[in-house]
Amino acid sequence: MASMDKPLIITSSPHLHCGMNTRGVMADVLIAMLPATVASVLLFGWRALAVELVCVASCMASEILSRLVMKREQTVGDLSCIVTGMLLAFNLPATMPFWQAALGGVVAIVVAKQMFGGLGQNFVNPALAGRIVLMASFPESMNNWVVPLSGTGADAVTAATPLADGAASYSLGEMFFGIRGGCLGETCAMALILGGVYLVLRLVISPAVPLIYIGTVFVLSWLMGENPLYQILSGGLMLGAIFMATDYTTSPINKAGKVVFAVGCGLLTVLIRQFGSLPEGVSFAIVIMNILVPLIERATRPVPFGRKRRAKD
């Protein structure tokens, strides 16, 4: 009919959308990391912020350059590389030499993410891949902990982490507020939980994964005669459970799979902590479970409505 000036827009149904987009999801994750970022600066001084900025800059540059080299469209706008940069920094000590931190960012983005096809395609968490490469390459820098609240830069006093020296030299209260040695984003449980609650409220993550992961560690370490509260507040557990085991790409897509994944992460964390030669097991536990995701998904695939679950699919 002539009343139409412009042709009508024809699209396939549905014609409504929830309004959420990838960039918004990533922005929410960044917002959720703000409390822990503030805590890192308060606890470990301005050098913590500097490490964070270096990691983010390195990740952004790696993302832009690798997409350029591969002649693919630029994806820096989806903010996912900034999330990776922040997570990587959270997993490094505040004393990390800048060039090593930057190298971690290159490994995370170029090797772990873009070489496998970019966002949504990587099979391990890029930030953890970066951390593990740095741990293997520069063990000394990676174990150079700053005693919190001890000043910044050159005056900073270094010390061992609670898990490494084995002794409960910090009170539980100190552990909760992050007043302990450790990576710059992992120590302040309170800030991490605050971020986690934000992510749950914004429907970005389901609370199941962090709760089951932390719960598994709690129960198992209690069974093994450890102080369970001490275990869940130490190391990178809070950071790993809230921000890394919930990574979309490297965790199972279905509910039942997420449960299996979280239990597996908890089990491996406790096993590595108790029996491994490493003081901390969170990053390896998550990376190992990342690799098992396709198998978990296949085993826990939901049955289409009305169909019977068969013994063998």
């Binding site: 396939s12 409504l16 999801v25 949504g120 979309y248």
Partner: protein, 416 residues
């Protein structure tokens, strides 16, 4: 709304074989007269809703790409009723089915499945439950709610006819919880007509999409799950739209076939959104004009709801029997977004009422892997749109599902 000056009656307003016009250009027709019919079993006749002259028999491109013949009738404004319009005489089962067919009734919830086929399942003895679907099928639409409020007695008497005809022991009228007035109204009447062995009750369900989808509704009401590729009758159920049931009861009383339909007219471009009773075949621009016209430029026009409705190319198309909504959206609601990569967030998996895993299906489709597509249950998809709605990457998930289904349908059948 008042009788239109011209109606366009598509010969295919139902699932199944299209009708052939039974009138010629220049013929005089009256209200309730059959203008199109088919000798195929799965079909339903089309009746004129006005009296006047057949002006043309043209071809119409329906949304969705099907072409059909259409009878164009110009009104003489007299509204003479055809002699065939009289209450049907029903003595037995065959009479009942014949009357239902003659009424032209199709599933008014949107699918348009001929009712006389639905009421004639292979194993009628196995049917113990009739579910009356008053769970509005999609957001925006309130046409069935108005039926509940305005014609609750028709609903209940229609329910009784169907229950007796099918010899079903219970009828469940399913209403969403956000319509307390309808629940109260229907419960009051249902209590009065319920008797031992002939139970009629109202079930209130959570108000969420797609509560009105047949399989979802059956599970919510009875706990039974219809297996893929099976029909509700395979689990002892017949599901009928509430307006269809009410119509049946009116038809048995008056003999007036299906010539009008209540529509929800809404959307950001409509001046006065409302529910209107429209003669089937009325051009959509007349309906919009009756609702105050467009207050803003219409950029997207939908026949049906926002989740499953079809986008129209122009507003000259006529209202069909199974339409329950016309939605007209302004620019900001018609925008489209480019799809970005899947981030595996799992929102689509969470959203799917059929428990499918869309990313796996998309991967199987990309590989043209028919076997995996079948195994992953692509044929169970009812295209409700929940996955695409919730996808932060704006991926075209529903389209991929449709193409996956096509791939399975067109694949050579496996030899057993």
């Amino acid at each position: 709304m008042p009788t239109p000056e011209k109606i366009i009656l598509a010969m295919s307003q139902h699932l199944g074989a299209p009708c052939t016009p039974t009138v010629k250009v220049g013929d005089t027709v009256e209200v309730g007269q059959v203008v199109g019919d088919s000798d195929k079993p799965v079909s339903a006749p089309v009746h004129s809703g006005i009296s006047g002259k057949v002006a043309a028999i043209t071809e119409l491109l329906l949304p969705g790409g099907r072409k059909t013949q259409a009878v164009v009738i110009e009104s003489d404004g007299e509204g003479r009723v055809h002699e065939s319009v009289k209450p049907p005489v029903i003595d037995n089962h065959e009479d009942f089915l014949r009357a239902v067919r003659a009424s032209g009734l199709v599933g008014l919830g949107g699918a348009g499945f001929p009712t006389h086929i639905k009421l004639n399942p292979r194993d009628v003895d196995a049917i113990d439950t009739v579910i009356v679907n008053a769970a509005e099928c999609e957001p925006y639409i309130t046409a069935d709610y108005r039926e509940c409020m305005e014609n609750s007695w028709d609903i209940v008497s229609g329910v009784q006819s169907v229950m007796e005809f099918l010899d079903a022991s219970r009828v469940i009228i399913a209403v969403e919880r956000n319509k307390p007035a309808a629940i109260a109204e229907l419960s009051k009447i249902a209590r009065g007509v319920s008797s031992p062995g002939r139970e009629v009750r109202v079930k209130s369900l959570p108000a969420r999409y797609p509560q009105g989808a047949e399989k979802v509704l059956i599970q919510a009401c009875t706990g039974r799950r219809v297996p893929p590729g099976k029909l509700p009758s395979d689990v002892g159920c017949v599901v009928m739209n509430v307006t269809s049931v009410a119509f049946l009861s009116r038809y048995f009383k008056t003999g007036m076939p299906l010539i009008d339909k209540r529509l929800t007219v809404d959307g950001s471009a409509i001046a006065y959104p409302k529910n209107v009773r429209v003669t089937v075949g009325t051009p959509i621009h007349d309906v919009i004009a009756f609702c105050g016209g467009a207050k803003r430029e219409i950029r997207k026009l939908l026949m049906g709801g926002p989740m499953m409705g079809l986008a129209l190319m122009d507003d000259t198309l006529p209202v069909l029997k199974q339409n329950n909504a016309i939605l007209a959206f302004a620019e900001e609601d018609a925008r489209t977004f480019p799809a970005s990569v899947c981030i595996r967030c799992g929102r689509c998996v969470e959203a799917c009422p059929m428990h499918l895993v869309p990313p796996s299906i998309a991967a199987a489709y990309k590989n043209a892997d028919v076997e995996s597509l079948e195994k992953l249950g692509v044929m169970t998809c009812m295209e409700c749109g929940c996955c695409s709605f919730s996808c932060p990457a704006h991926r075209y998930i529903v389209q991929t599902m449709r193409m996956g289904k096509d791939l399975v349908r067109n694949a050579p059948k496996k030899e057993n």
